[in-house]
Symmetry: C2
């Protein structure tokens, strides 16, 4: 039951580096699908590190620190599928549509990205084909195969200091035009002990709800984007605590949208 | 479908820190079960860091660096269940039986473990009850529920320099009295480009085959322990490469023990 991506000679990812995205716990029974678009800081060897220094390549600009660890734990705790990218968002940001320049950002916060300067149309098309399309296809397929409509939950983390400004919020609950899941989750998170805010530190105006729109709203699925401040999940102690806090909140949120929850 | 461990007031793990072990991808269809006993360096708050300094608490003594990331990727790639501990092996080493002193080691390589000195019988019993038994029970249950006999595969990593000695081996394939899976895997790994060795850098005489014996040999399941040198999997580039190398090797090994493989 080995899943391999079919490759062309010109692929950005070598056979050992592929696939660009992975699904875990595909047969989980929860009425939820978890997504982690910024799970990895991996840069394919063909791109020569995008010309980044080590600080930038390990920073929040390259990935969402701690997000995959939290998402994997939640996939186990909720028994939900998880679809995640395996490539840095600086190569292609799977939470952005191809037509946006910041899908392959020439700059991210304080970091210039030399390898993304002056990309040709062909170079952009290659990244779309080799990074974004496999991710998008795998997420679509995972949603298609759910026996019942799931809640779509995307897991992100954010840096505590951004462009020199300190952020007080610890847990952001983000939504686009469909706020059903966000409002239910906000309600369940009211007494969790974290500083929780709706549409902080980002909102739809920042262009961060692409996955919610493309895969949630377009299918009529309840959907929510979770942003965790990354200093809360940069140690095993922090990850276990946040997973312990989020598990009952998300379980209750998902339950609300299940048949049983809607019928009571 | 939330799984919560039932707790007593005296549990070593707080409700937010529990459970001690997790299963991921429980309904995966591969005829394999993956295990990662040393997946985490998490130390419950009640143990006050075991008195370790930060270097020791982050070192290979506290966990198998990179092993969980590799195991999670392999669970996705092979579509196999993965059972992993969520607590440091310095609290309880789930690859050791309770009666062995090094199940709660007072010393690990160059690191003394102050919090493990002079443990009382009650303290040892508590760790067995709260860390080892949940792990053991979850692995047993996972194996019980497989529709067909799986190959048991445990995923470990080792430090490149141990007690001052450099280790050349990159991939160790370890077995106890049943070497069926190890020999098949060794054969499939022959041309993978890594320095591969049987029963290196540890062997059954080092007491490292507890899980293989308890869950593999006792059930008559083919079983193998994999040891990856941790400098090969301490970056995303390394993890993706090793996962890329191991996936076809393990898929072929598992296939050998499937009905189809045995009938051809």
């Amino acid at each position: 039951m080995l899943r391999m991506q079919s490759k062309t000679e010109s692929s950005l990812l070598s056979p050992l580096e592929a696939p660009a995205a992975r699904v875990l716990n595909a047969r989980g029974v929860a009425r939820a699908v978890l997504v982690c678009e910024h799970a990895s800081r991996f840069i394919p060897a063909a791109l020569d590190g995008l010309g980044l220094d080590d600080v930038a390549a390990r920073s929040h600009a390259a990935w969402d620190i701690g997000a995959l660890e939290v998402a994997v734990e939640l996939a186990g705790a909720l028994d939900a599928p998880l679809v995640h990218s395996r490539v840095s968002r600086l190569v292609y940001d799977c939470n952005r549509p191809p037509e946006r320049e910041d899908s392959m950002p020439p700059r991210s916060e304080v970091f210039a990205v030399p390898g993304n300067q002056g990309l040709t149309m062909d170079q952009r098309a290659q990244r779309v084909r080799d990074i974004y399309e496999p991710f998008r296809g795998l997420l679509s397929q995972t949603l298609d195969r759910r026996p019942e409509p799931p809640v779509l939950i995307t897991i992100h983390s954010f840096t505590p200091i951004y462009n020199g400004k300190t952020r007080a919020v610890e847990l952001g609950i983000l939504h686009d035009s469909d706020d059903r899941a966000a409002q239910v989750m906000l309600n369940h998170a009211a007494h969790c002990g974290l500083r929780v805010a709706l549409n902080e530190p980002y909102s739809p105006e920042d262009g961060v709800t692409h996955t919610l729109r493309e895969h949630g709203i377009a299918r009529g699925l309840p959907n929510v984007m979770i942003e965790i401040r990354n200093d809360l999940i940069d140690t095993p102690t922090g990850v276990n605590r946040i997973v312990g806090l989020l598990t009952p909140i998300l379980a209750a949120t998902v339950e609300t949208f299940s048949d049983a929850g809607q019928n009571t």
